[in-house]
Amino acid sequence: MDTVTFHSKLGGIMIAIKNLGKAYNQKVVLFINELTISRGEIFGLVGNNGAGKTTLLRLLLDLIKADKGSAVSGDFEIARTEKWKDYTSSYLDEGFLIDFLTPEEYFHFIGEEYGFTRTEIDGRLSDYKGFFNDEILGQRKKFIREFSKGNKQKIGIVSALITDPQVIILDEPFNSLDPTSQILLKRILVDYNKKSNATIIISSHDLNHITDVSHRIVLIEKGLIIRDLQNDGGALAELESYFSA
């Protein structure tokens, strides 16, 4: 795996977060004073369980309501309009899958929502044949709910990639994947980013993977940003030392 070289992206700001806060039952689970993510950046999010990673991702997808502050994608304020959905795709967890469809039906359904024809989607799917390892496509009567956890994960991840998004949000995508698939996924993400200059936001528990892939890594603990590192070589060591303390 080639090491990802750090370089500043001149694409401008894709995501801008200001004063974003969320609390449940009086307890603050997330507060970000200021955070900007550049266009074309692969942005890694790490933190222990309950740190607020998924909360942040949900806020970026307007799935939960912020108590204060704002998040802006491109020119659009995420909570106010739906225009950012045109170029954003995501996969957070199994709950995203429509489990009573077959994988092909699911991919075609999403494709049609975004205005792609079946053949276009099929074309894109062929890029991921290796990733699917012959287990997912071509099973005409198998519903998504009947697949293994790892395969469901693959279906979800690919469903986020086939619509040519400019912003991709993935929550712990490496979960449940076997080692080969993990490595393949890293390559897929890096290649996609290089090819399309898409902004990719991923959270992970795996420090190695995240440092292999990300341009920038942000560490969240108890809802606050503790570290904001450019991935220029020393990141892995710093992360490891933080988490072993």
């Binding site: 449940y24 689970v29 949900r58 997808l61 307007d62 799935l63 939960i64 309501k65 739906e82 959905k85 045109d86 954003t88 795709s89 995501s90 957070l92 709950g95 995203f96 899958l97 429509i98 489990d99 009573f100 469809l101 077959t102 092909e104 039906e105 359904f109 999403i110 049609e112 929502e113 975004y114 005409r140 009567k141 198998k142 519903f143 709910r145 009947e146």
Partner: protein, 442 residues
């Protein structure tokens, strides 16, 4: 029937027991338990089964009759025939109730696997009603049965426990068999007999067709919606059967209520949960680019289709019986497609309970808010009320128009109220609903 209070009381027995069984089959909660966690614990399978069976006894059907039986026994039987007879009577009733209880449990579990067995309780009811209407004196038989019980004949008190034991045994065998993981897994796999191609042909009709196919696939391919949908024709046929067999013609108002209920029944059962059906993956719908208006329109079309499909058999049926004006039925349909749909969809935006499509038990109350059912039920009575009002002051034709015209208006304006009322209302409640659908405890 004169005189003897004992006889009068007993005359209801043979009527009550089948009705009791019927209602139990529909409403008695099946004792269920998440089996997987227990499989690796040192808990005896028989212990779990016995627990479940005991649990099945705790329901209202086993409690409420006593509020009637005990006073009867104490106040009438006791002074009249002595403590011994009273005890015997109570014992017999207890055995009969227990019998019904376990019969309902057994049938209930079988119905889960094969919904066609719903015919058993319904068939039983139908038989009782027919027997009653064809002149056999149920009450007379019942009195004799009551006398038989009171005579203290040991045959009864031996056969009943035996039958009960038999049913309990059969049920526990049934439950034990479901303890193996692969049994459970294969049960989940079984129902994939619909080819994936069929449902998705609506795609030809553009984006609305796309969402329509998704909705139909949802209803067909998932256990719980399938069960609920299957109930609809059964209930409709059942009511038509009752009506056609009843000796006294019901008044026109009553007929109208029944027609309205039957036409709206399907729509209500689907429309209540029109958004919650998809609760398990609603996050992804909202996170993606979607044409929410077309999405909602597709649901409205399905709602209307359900009303129309319910309408057809009812219309044909009442056309034959001539007990209600066919134009009236048509007006009710128009009202249902127009006004009812609007009301149902509006109320459904308040439904923020998660609905798990694979949990099968028919009366799983997950995702149902009680007052919603009540409100939609009240609004079902609306057309009947309006019609009667206008008929009273003017004449029946005006009454029909009074129902049809609002309905027509709502249908024509459907695009408008879908876009301007339902969608914004849903957006207003979006976060609350999403939280509920996600159903995570934080």
């Amino acid at each position: 029937m004169e005189g003897d209070p004992v006889e009068r009381f007993n005359s209801f027995l043979l009527w009550y027991l089948p009705v009791d069984l019927f209602l139990r089959c529909l409403f008695q909660p099946l004792p269920t338990i998440e089996i997987l966690p227990y499989l690796r614990l040192p808990v005896r399978r028989s212990k779990i089964v016995n627990y479940l069976l005991r649990r099945s006894l705790m329901n209202l059907f086993n409690l409420i009759p006593w509020f009637v039986i005990i006073p009867f026994s104490v106040q009438i039987l006791l002074p009249e025939s002595g403590a011994g007879i009273a005890m015997i009577y109570i014992l017999a009733i207890a055995l009969l109730l227990i019998l019904n209880n376990f019969l309902a449990v057994f049938i209930g579990f079988q119905i889960q696997k094969r919904p066609i067995l719903y015919l058993i309780p319904f068939g039983l009811q139908a038989i009782v009603i027919s027997v009653n209407n064809w002149g056999l004196p149920m009450s007379g038989l019942s009195v004799s049965f009551g006398k038989y019980i009171l005579a203290g004949n040991p045959v009864l008190f031996v056969t009943l426990p035996l039958v009960i034991t038999g049913i309990i045994y059969a049920t526990s065998r049934l439950l034990s068999r479901n303890f193996y993981i692969d049994e459970i897994k294969s049960a989940n796999k079984r129902k994939t007999y619909f080819s994936s191609v069929r449902e998705f042909q609506f795609k030809r009709f553009g984006e609305i067709g796309l969402y329509l196919s998704l909705e139909i696939s949802l209803l067909i391919r998932n256990k719980r919606p399938r069960q609920i949908m299957v109930m609809i024709p059964i209930i409709i046929l059942y009511f038509m059967f009752i009506i056609s067999n009843s000796k006294h013609p019901y008044g026109p108002f009553f007929n109208l209520i029944i027609v309205t209920m039957l036409i709206g029944f399907g729509a209500i059962n689907y429309g209540q949960f029109i958004f919650s059906w998809e609760s398990s993956y609603f996050d992804s719908i909202m996170a993606r680019k979607n044409n929410f208006i077309n999405y909602v329109k597709a649901k409205y079309y399905l709602l209307s289709a359900l009303s129309i499909l319910s309408f057809i058999p009812i219309f044909i049926f009442f056309l034959n019986t001539q007990s209600i004006d066919p134009y009236l039925i048509c007006s009710v349909l128009i009202f249902a497609i127009g006004v009812n749909s609007f009301i149902i969809m509006l109320f459904s935006t308040f439904n923020d309970g998660r609905m798990d499509l694979s949990r099968s038990r028919f009366f799983n109350y997950q995702g149902i808010k009680g007052n919603q059912y009540l409100l939609t039920f009240i609004f079902l009575l609306l057309p009947a009320g309006i019609f009667s009002l206008f008929k009273y002051y003017f004449n029946p034709v005006i009454g029909e128009l009074a129902i049809a015209i609002p309905g027509l208006v709502f249908i024509i304006l459907s695009d408008w109220w879908l876009k301007r009322i339902i969608v914004p209302q849903f957006q207003r409640r979006k976060y609350k609903n999403l939280d509920g659908y996600r159903n995570l405890s934080l």
